[in-house]
């Protein structure tokens, strides 16, 4: 689909692109920090940025709630977090808004922006999302809830229990499955016996859709539809969004061990950021030179953010026993 079919204005599309590009460039920075030993872990969303930004733009960040998973950097940035916030997480800084240096990098959360803290344990966020959704319903709020997970993580019982409950109560929750083909080294066909995970939606009586996360407009429109359902009180949705995992699973993994050179090369030819850039130029929203300007501007921004984040204090050991129980600050 053309970008313009999203019905977003050129300005909005350019802003969306900037988010996509910033997420990509920021992640590249995180890998650098990892390689030089300044952070000990990275798990990245490269190959999912376009889908994530399109998804997040369909919501009303600040009003709506988001329970992300570890690859959702681009989405949490649309929701409000900035590069410095994320860098502070990677560096384990005290002011890291996700966990104040307590959790591993990429475990996003931010109270200021209604982004609920993510644990490493996969899929537990889905039942939490139903609780947040039920609170919106009972408290008669107009806010809705987005929660994300990987396709491998849908094998967990929690996936089923959450969707089932959301179906019963017609909760305002949009569940997205970011299908990047693998759970670490385990390919789709060893994860489930069905072609499309969105085929599970009818079994819960909820709205379902299968979309290509490389296609900005298709993704945006699908989420708009899901959002509309949720806001109208028509209940939950299950969106399967096909993305790529351009990198290894994490900085502890090497995907060349279990994916062929050819497979990786073909995936890289089909990089979602490249696709969006080509669309912007083809649809005459931006010129090549403007893309270059944006890139330079973002490079400066990320350099500055890195400097700022590095200058922040580390948590000190006296914080070990704080915030365990109420009153224990």
């Amino acid at each position: 689909m053309k970008l313009k079919e999203s019905r977003l204005s050129n300005e909005e599309l350019i802003d969306a692109y900037k988010m996509v590009k910033e997420a990509r460039m920021l992640d590249e920075r995180l890998w650098q920090l990892n390689r030089i030993g300044k952070s000990t872990f990275n798990i990245s969303g490269q190959g999912a940025e376009v889908g994530q930004v399109a998804m997040a733009l369909a919501f009303e960040p600040k009003k709506d709630y988001f329970l992300p998973y570890y690859r959702d950097m681009a989405a949490v940035m649309v929701w409000g977090m900035n590069s410095k916030d994320i860098l502070m997480g990677s560096l384990g800084k005290e002011d890291d808004p996700s966990s104040h240096g307590r959790q591993m990098p990429n475990h996003y959360g931010d109270k200021r922006y209604n982004i609920v803290s993510f644990s490493s344990t996969v899929t537990t966020q889905l039942p939490l999302a139903t609780g947040v959704g039920l609170a919106m319903q009972v408290d008669k709020k107009d806010s809705i809830v987005l929660t994300a997970t990987g396709e491998g993580s849908t094998a967990q019982g929690d996936f089923h229990e959450a969707l089932n409950f959301a179906g019963v109560k017609k909760l305002p929750v949009v569940f997205v499955v970011e299908n990047n083909g693998y759970a670490i080294s385990t390919p789709n066909n060893e994860e489930f016996g069905v072609k499309k995970l969105s085929d599970r939606a009818p079994g819960y009586g909820i709205f379902g859709k299968h979309i290509d996360g490389h296609d900005f407009a298709e993704t945006y429109l699908a989420f708009k539809e899901a959002v509309q359902h949720a806001r109208n009180g028509e209940g939950a949705s299950l969106i399967e969004m096909v993305v790529d995992r351009l990198t290894a699973h994490s900085s502890d993994d090497d995907q060349r061990v279990y994916r062929s050179e050819k497979e990786i090369a073909e995936m890289k030819k089909h990089d979602c950021v490249d696709i969006m850039e080509k669309q912007l130029v083809d649809e005459k929203i931006l010129k090549e030179s403007e893309l270059e300007d944006i890139k330079n501007e973002l490079a400066n921004k990320i350099n500055q953010a890195t400097e700022d984040a590095e200058a922040m204090p580390n948590p000190t050991s006296d914080q070990l026993m704080t915030h365990i129980y109420e009153g224990g600050e």
């Binding site: 307590r102 803290s117 039942p127 139903t130 919106m136 229990e161 365990i324 109420e326």
Partner: protein, 327 residues
Amino acid sequence: MSEKTYLEALNLAIDEEMQRDPGVMIFGEDVGGVKGGVFGVTKGLAEKFGDERVFNTPLGESEIAGLATGLGLMGHHAIAEFQFADYILPAINQILSEATKMRYRTAGDWTAPIVMRAPYGGGVRGGFYHSQSTEKIFAGQPGLRVVTPSTVYDAKGMLKTAIRSEDPVLFYEHKKLYRSIKADISDADYTVPIDKANILQSGDDVTVIAYGMMLQYVLKATEELKDDISIEVVDLRSLYPLDKATIIEATKKTGKVLLVTEDPKEGSIMNNVSAVIAENALFDLDAPVQILAGPDSPSMPYAKDLEDAFLVNPEQVKAAIKDLAEF
């Protein structure tokens, strides 16, 4: 004052707190509607507070725990009921990975101020999976509180405190106490601490620490032995974290300690109590720290003779106190 059973006291606590705080909600399997739970703890509440605040969930304990936690994140003091303490097992990942760690992992930005109720304990011919004391599984998980009331007064007062707490609280209720104990309790809006053990009776010869049905047996034995042995009776109340100060003090007072639990001995909560004593009051002891407990057998069998053989009984409690006094 009015006479209440342990079960009625719990029902009243929930009722009062739901009136006080419109954010309180309660749910679980068969908790809503006219049934009001398989034991009837929530009877009448759906009618009174409506189906939005008191409702049935589908049969999935992990979802029940996650739902409560999600509501807690939004400031609701949600109460989740697990139908039996045996059936809390599918929810352990949610409880330990999410609710328990939420406050710490966000340095207080997000919290889970919820209560998870679980009827536990044996002696009801419920066989393997309706008799277990699963509380020990949750001991040693900072961020979480595991508590149980063992008197009618505490049933009401501790549940009210748990509901008002900003921490996740696992609230164990001994299912055999539901209808077997009654007491006159205050009609006032009182609360009881959930982090403090309680000296139910002061004594000089022997210290006995217990909770649940076993505490009732201890009280019975104490009464029967009152002319011969002066017994310090401690109701543990907070199973995790332990109220170490009270345990140590009560130990030092008599120098002889008996710990009673119906759970299999090795691994039970009483091991943690014993370790506190062995580290902090060793030279005050005049006798080994005794644990009277269930057998190290997988769970309570159904057949009457086997169930009876599994259960610690009042005679054993009395005999253990006498033995220790004579030590």
